[in-house]
């Protein structure tokens, strides 16, 4: 039920994001979702791709600083209040969210949201008990 997310350390310099994307393009890797967290001097690019192993290998080979983190991808009803409904069981289970971001593609009629939490297994349990669909990695990579 966990999804592999790849994070890349990037200095705030023009062209660095382009270089990451070029590196992935060369390896034929498709980006499924991404977000950037930034500070004044640097940023962390977070990616979900169709082939995490190849992406890690390609980026490391070009000397980018990369790491892998486990996140969860949840189907969120695409209507007002949809996200709030998903957050409710996490709040009740006392699970703190580090960050979230959205997929470009939809999963059927639902939006796809990526969650990063510390207690990942408890979060998956809480969401499933509340009737939400947590997508397995393989399914997310091939959307």
């Amino acid at each position: 039920m966990k999804v592999r997310q790849i994070s890349v350390f990037l200095e705030n310099k023009s062209g660095r994001l382009l270089e990451v994307c070029r590196c992935l393009a060369k390896a034929g890797i498709n980006i499924r979702a991404l977000s950037i967290a930034e500070t004044a001097d640097y940023g962390v690019l977070r990616l979900i791709v169709d082939n995490p192993d190849l992406a890690m290998e390609s980026l490391s080979r070009e000397l980018f600083t990369v790491s892998e983190t486990e996140v969860i991808a949840v189907e969120v009803p695409d209507r007002p209040g949809g996200l709030a409904e998903v957050l409710q069981p996490l709040y009740e289970a006392n699970i703190n969210i580090e960050y979230i971001y959205c997929f470009v593609e939809k999963s059927g009629e639902s939006a796809l949201v990526v969650f990063r939490v510390e207690q990942i297994d408890q979060a998956i349990g809480a969401l499933q008990r509340a009737g939400f669909t947590v997508l397995p990695g393989e399914k997310v990579y091939s959307i």
Partner: protein, 432 residues
């Protein structure tokens, strides 16, 4: 124990007698041969024959780098140019280069000194000595080269740069002793790792590293990554080049070859000789050199002399490893900061790479020191708060160790320029 030249274990009494004879000859010869020294010695009322004991050295004038520049290029040579067989010079990045001339005798004497250093670092004639110091006007490359040849070892005159080739040949030829700057040794280790060459694939057993200050922590890291025993070598072209002093197997200070140089430690502000064991500026007097001999040359390097005998058996006094120079000392908001101190702090934080740079700038009337460090995959966290905590930790440790607040900037790996010789540790953007 093993040494190259029996003079290394001469008893102190005979060694000091030898020093006195050589000092007296040197000073009188300089008085006769070098107008600059005649003038300086006249100023202090020196008359030939005035040196009666080693203590009389204190009455003699200092020589500084400016003196060398003012007498550029050959003004301090003590023999006619036809007796000079080799010239070396400093890079001159901070002004006119300083020029040194060697007679054929000097070249032999120097090679003997360097052979002593290789033996002190565990070398024998069976070793393959990989010289990755720059060859050319810089004394590092040719200095180690001649010493290794005199010892009878097999020399690889690699010079600096082209690091992948260095690694390949190190594997193919089975280099056993690596000679280069410590920052270049780390660069080699890094390139080895990138090429997938492990320390079990190479045969290095010891390293002779010098020409720039480095910390004990950096030594530990080099030893670990290259699988060798690292020895600090000290020297400066003005005095001879590499081979002024070397760490023996005890690694508790560097033996100064006192049959050729007399070391003193002075207060850099007053010029007074400090009591034994105190830390201050290193000063050397050449007593066994023909082409150019300097009296009380102020090195601007900071060290102290370690009194007492060394278990290795060498009788020559030891100097503590040089931790900084009076001229690369930064004064940040009134606090003295040496790059090697910052390095020592950084190396104690697990996962930090040994590549760093200090950028000093002045914002308004305030000095700002930025410490740039590279983020290795081991310490990279996906979460900004973790990265910020790391920045804070580095800044706090530097603050508590050095008493100066700094800004820490995290950089991508390999964004700090790699050293192929002397590392550039400080960029000073202050326009003062």
């Amino acid at each position: 124990m093993s040494y190259f030249n029996p003079v290394e274990v001469l008893d102190r009494e005979r060694l000091e007698q030898l020093q006195l004879e050589r000092l007296r000859n040197t000073v009188d010869r300089l008085y006769q041969q070098v107008p600059f020294y005649r003038g300086k010695l006249d100023e202090v009322g020196y008359r030939p024959g005035d040196i009666k004991s080693l203590e009389d050295l204190r009455k003699l004038p200092f020589t500084t780098k400016d003196d060398l520049r003012e007498n550029y290029p050959f003004g301090l040579f003590a023999v006619p140019l036809r007796e000079i067989v080799r010239i070396h010079a400093s890079s001159g990045t901070t002004g006119k280069p300083t020029v040194v001339g060697y007679t054929a005798g000097d070249i032999k004497m120097w090679a003997d000194l360097v052979a002593r250093t290789i033996v002190a670092a565990g070398g024998t004639k069976d070793d393959i000595v990989h010289v990755a110091y720059g060859y050319g006007l810089f004394t590092g490359g040719l200095g180690l080269h001649y010493g290794a040849e005199l010892l009878g070892a097999t020399v690889l005159p690699m010079s600096g740069g082209n690091t992948k080739r260095q690694v390949r040949l190190m594997v193919d030829f089975g280099s056993t002793i690596l000679c280069c700057t410590p920052s270049y040794a780390l660069n080699i280790a890094e390139v080895m790792e990138e090429m997938g060459v492990g320390k079990e694939d190479i045969k290095l057993k010891s390293g002779i590293f010098g020409a720039e200050p480095w910390s004990a922590e950096m030594r530990a890291q080099i030893e670990e990554r290259l699988g060798l025993s690292a020895h600090d070598i000290y020297g400066l072209s003005e005095v001879v080049g590499p081979g002024v002093s070397i760490e023996c197997g005890e690694k508790n200070g560097l033996h100064v070859f006192e049959d050729c140089f007399i070391p003193e430690i002075i207060d850099p502000a007053t010029g007074e000789v400090l009591p034994p064991g105190e830390r201050g500026e290193l000063v050397f007097t050449n007593i066994n050199k023909e082409g150019m001999a300097l009296l009380r040359y102020r090195t601007r390097d900071i060290s102290r002399l370690i009194p007492g005998p060394c278990p290795c058996g060498r009788t020559h006094v030891r100097m503590e490893r040089v931790t900084g120079r009076t001229d690369d000392m930064l004064i940040i908001r009134g606090v003295n900061v040496f790059p090697s101190q910052v390095e020592a702090v950084l190396m104690q934080i697990p996962g930090l790479s040994p590549h760093y740079q200090l950028v000093v700038d002045r914002v308004g009337s305030l000095d700002v020191l930025e410490v740039q460090v590279e983020v290795s995959p081991e310490i990279f966290s996906d979460e900004i708060k973790e990265l910020e905590a790391l920045q804070q930790r580095i800044a706090d440790e530097i603050q508590s160790y050095l008493g100066v607040g700094v800004k820490v900037r995290l950089m991508e790996p390999r964004s700090i320029q790699r050293s192929e010789g002397k590392a550039v540790r400080v960029i000073d953007r202050r326009k003062i």
